[in-house]
């Protein structure tokens, strides 16, 4: 037994996790969506010294909120301090349906195609609730959507089909390959409507995402945005030596830095 004690100690040390974002600054509630029929858990991280009487704040809507909300909220606080700029409200959208249904634009082998209903929920139910209950800026340019993988695909769908909702897009390893690159078709169909809008876009990928699906569609989407959108501020970043999951947090950090610097 004595021999096992050092191993157990190391297990305990290694399993210690970083604290969650300060609970004092976080509010939680849920919304029963009339659009999708699901019940979405929502969390809102307020900036430190949140002063609704004197100030309004920009918002970042985080997909896969269960996984990424704390990391995004914690780093928004750090990065806004570094840039000496006002922090944002971070809104976590938790799972009400399976993510492969809510985040995919069409029905295909890999997903159920519920993105339109999910975007209706965000646009007509979640955003009005946030903007009526908190001191947030209601301009499109003050709203950001952040998503990874299928979440990045939903970010791309928000860009092409609901461009009036968000002015800023942080798309990390977006699954542009989905349904024979349907996003490229949607981009093409909506280009005339969207290309004159101001946009801030961060596109991130991992250098080792070499499973034969991620890179070429990502580059095609990036080239489209670069070639056809005159009012876009865009950064494309490939995270060195990291793969699909490994590149997520580093790309979130770079995306947030880009956002706070150029918003």
């Amino acid at each position: 037994m004595k021999k096992l004690i050092p191993i157990l100690l190391v297990f305990v040390i290694a399993s210690c996790q970083k604290e969650d974002f300060s609970a004092d600054l976080t509010e939680a509630f849920s919304i029963e969506s009339t659009s999708s029929g699901a019940n979405y858990p929502i969390k809102v991280a307020l900036p430190e010294n949140y002063s609704p009487e004197t100030q309004t704040y920009a918002t970042i809507y985080v997909l896969d909120g269960e996984q990424d909300f704390d990391f995004v909220a914690e780093n928004c606080k750090k990065i806004s301090n570094e840039f000496s700029t006002s922090n944002v409200l971070v809104v976590s959208i938790g799972y009400g349906n399976d993510r492969v249904d809510d985040y995919t634009p069409t029905k295909a082998k890999e997903g159920g195609g519920g993105a339109e209903k999910f975007m209706q929920f965000i646009e007509n139910e979640l955003i009005p609730r946030i903007e009526s209950n908190y001191a947030v800026d209601t301009l499109r340019s003050s709203r950001t959507i952040l998503g990874h993988s299928f979440g990045g695909l939903l970010g791309a769908y928000a860009f092409t089909n609901h461009n009036s909702v968000f002015g800023n897009y942080l798309m990390l390893s977006p699954s542009i390959w989905y349904d024979n690159e349907i996003m490229l078709r949607l981009e093409q169909e909506n280009r005339n409507i969207n290309s004159n809008n101001h946009q801030l876009v961060y596109l991130g990928l991992g250098q080792l995402e070499n499973e034969g699906r991620m890179f070429a569609p990502f580059e095609a989407f990036h080239q489209r945005l670069q070639n056809y959108y005159d009012y876009i501020a865009m950064q494309r970043h490939i995270e060195q030596h990291l793969d699909h999951m490994g590149s997520k947090n580093p790309n979130i950090l770079k995306g947030l830095n880009f956002y706070f610097k150029f918003r």
Binding site: V10, L208, G212, F215
Partner: protein, 204 residues
């Protein structure tokens, strides 16, 4: 905390192998160490998840002492064997070359020996894919990169004569930290577990 996490895995593997060695000691105390031996063991195998990579590798193991070996491991990996034409995305090429060296400790039984090693080195990755969807413009993307590569290896050697059966399992610990332990996920660690079988030869 990050440093503690980095220290944890090699410490754990070493501790585990030491414990196993102690438990094994009495049973195998009469097994003779054949003396310093150089072994060469080419093998073929797979990274089974998620898209199946084919691995051709060679392992050189020099048993200096009964419980101490130096190990060199070279591998060529043909990546994503079964996913080279997906949703109009054609893989033009996709391979990796890896060279690692390290140290190991060996446990002996009557017919086999078990070597646990920690290895470190570099890995060269190169791939190119092209989107050839007739509805859209043709776009290619390619990457060539050199990255660190380190991890733990278990090497089973069955047979005490000149030729022996070799089975090995390599678990990469880079990228680190491991993001999740789902073996079917497209991750860099658990999903890239390598399982290989081959024939080895002992050179005195």
């Amino acid at each position: 905390m990050k440093i503690a996490k980095f220290l944890f895995i090699p410490f754990f593997l070493l501790k585990l192998s030491a414990l196993l060695a102690q438990n094994d000691y009495h049973a195998n105390i009469h097994q003779d160490f054949p003396g310093q031996t150089l072994k060469i063991a080419p093998a073929i195998g797979l990274n089974p998840w998620p898209t199946s990579d084919l691995v051709i590798s060679n392992l050189v193991q020099w048993d200096i002492k009964k419980r101490l070996s130096l190990v060199s491991y070279t591998a060529y990996t043909y990546n994503s064997v079964f996913l080279r034409n997906f949703n109009y995305i054609k893989t033009n090429y996709n391979y990796s070359l890896s060279q690692k060296v390290g140290v190991g400790t060996t446990l002996y039984s009557k017919r086999a020996s078990h070597t646990f090693s920690l290895l470190g080195g570099i890995k060269y990755n190169s791939f190119k894919e092209t989107l050839e969807n007739p509805d859209f413009e043709k776009v290619s993307a390619s990457v060539s990169s050199v990255s660190p590569d380190f991890g733990g290896m278990y090497h089973l050697q069955v047979g005490k004569k000149k030729f022996f059966f070799s089975y090995r399992m390599y678990l990469p610990l880079y990228p680190y930290p491991v993001q999740r332990l789902d073996i079917t996920a497209i991750d860099g660690n658990i999903a890239n577990l390598s399982l290989e079988f081959g024939l080895g030869v002992r050179l005195k």
